[in-house]
């Protein structure tokens, strides 16, 4: 039987090759699965940390840093925050990592692998707001009050501190405060009643405002519409509540040009009929600027628009 070889041991070779392959596959499945799972978890930790921290920007960087680290800790005791950076005043960047020990890779001399993740989040000024959207998110709404950019420029120094805003009917451009009337108002009782309704949100001021597709040039309310008890009474009922004030960067006797938004808590209202004898203190409100997280999408690029405290946030990477 020359030429016929014995088949003893043939399976042994096959089994050795198969077993080696299976052990390597097992290492791949178990260790790589563990690494992937840890990487996803660390990414989740970094995302949550960045989104928590960005809520204190752009006004309070130390608080943003502390919040990012606190939320990383809440999400994982094993993941470490390697760094929290602020590439710009409105952006937070978080690096997180966690060491993963493999079962099989340690046999190959790889004792551990570090899973890393990076997340960056940005805050930007709200550029388009409507009462329809704001009402879904709570009771804070836009009333017909507007604030002069020069008055809102006290931010962030005046955040939470009482400030006085005056509305001088004879000088819309120079007033700290204004009253707008989309669609136009006259000096009639009907116009005053309309303003009263908008201040009390019954019904709320309609339409959308802001440079990103909303109304930006809006009619100013004449003195006749803001005199009398309707507007005064309505504003007094707003004391203690937060309102969104569109910020105007230019005005004349007939209209305001809107550019941004501020959030304001009304603490006191002193509202008298316009008269040369009391100007510019005829119509005065006192209150505090605060920050407010608004509904809406973050602009895809940083437009560099000023942030007067009403902002939206989002992950950028």
């Amino acid at each position: 039987m020359r030429g016929v070889r014995r088949e003893d041991g043939q399976s042994l070779v096959f089994v050795i090759v198969a077993m080696t392959s299976f052990v390597l596959l097992m290492a791949l499945v178990v260790d790589v699965g563990l690494w992937l799972q840890t990487q996803r978890k660390v990414q989740s930790v970094a995302d949550a940390a960045a989104l928590a921290g960005v809520q204190s920007l752009p006004f309070n960087q130390p608080q943003a840093d502390a919040d990012a680290r606190a939320y990383a800790q809440l999400n994982s005791r094993d993941a470490a925050i390697d760094s929290v950076d602020f590439p710009s005043g409105d952006t937070i960047s978080v690096q997180a990592s966690e060491r993963v020990t493999g079962f099989f890779s340690s046999l190959a001399g790889i004792t551990s692998v570090t899973a890393k993740a990076h997340a960056a989040a940005r805050t930007g000024p709200a550029e388009l707001l409507s009462n329809a959207d704001l009402q879904k998110a709570g009771s804070t709404v836009i009333t017909p009050l507007v604030v002069n950019e020069s008055a809102a420029d006290c931010l962030p120094g005046c955040l939470g501190i009482d400030v006085t805003l005056r509305f001088d009917d004879a000088d819309h451009r120079g007033s700290e405060l204004g009253v707008m009337c989309p669609g136009g108002c006259g000096s009639t009782g009907a116009s005053r009643n309309r303003l009263r309704g908008w201040i009390n949100c019954s019904p709320c001021l309609p339409g959308s405002f802001g440079p990103a597709g909303g109304t930006v040039d809006v009619a100013a309310a004449p003195a006749g519409a803001t005199n009398g008890g309707q507007v005064r009474g309505a504003l007094q009922r707003r004391v203690g509540t937060t309102v969104i004030l569109p910020v105007f960067d230019d005005a004349n006797s007939a209209s305001y040009h809107l550019a941004a938004f501020a959030a304001f808590v009304l603490d006191d209202v002193s509202w008298r009929n316009d008269s040369p004898s009391c100007r510019p203190d005829c119509k005065v409100v006192t209150g505090r600027f605060i920050t407010y997280r608004a509904p809406g999408a973050l602009a895809s690029t940083d437009t560099g628009a000023p942030d007067y405290g009403v902002s939206v946030v989002g992950l950028t990477t």
């Binding site: 198969a18 178990v30 949550a48 809440l74 999400n75 998110a137």
Partner: protein, 115 residues
């Protein structure tokens, strides 16, 4: 051939173990991702006029809804406070023809700050 016939069940068993471990890790990834998505939905629920926990429930696949737990560690649903979402799912590795089975639970939590 006789040796191979003897060894084949062992090899097949190993293949089954491999597949089932892979499926288990896949489940773990899905649970982790679902917890993250649910927590994010809860964090921004206010903007849609939704309750945070209802939004978390709506954001995950139906298979995770029964086990989803939603809580507020500071006992406050106001913006700025944390919301924690935990999702739990069972795993099970059964070996064919052998009376060996192993099971347990996969759990993942995610905590986000309410906006």
């Amino acid at each position: 051939m006789v040796e191979f016939a003897l060894v084949l069940p062992v090899l097949v068993t190993i293949v089954f173990v491999l597949v089932q471990i892979g499926l288990t890790f896949n489940s773990y990834l899905r649970v982790t991702d679902a917890a993250r998505v649910a927590a994010r939905a809860a964090a921004v629920a206010r903007f849609n006029g939704q309750d945070p926990c209802d939004a978390a429930q709506a954001a995950v696949p139906a298979e995770f809804r029964a086990s989803l737990q939603c809580s507020f560690p500071n006992s406050s649903e106001q913006p700025g406070n944390p919301v924690e979402v935990t999702i739990t799912q069972g795993w099970n590795i059964d070996l064919p023809l052998l009376p060996l089975s192993k099971s347990g639970t996969l759990s993942s939590s995610s905590t986000e700050r309410l906006e």
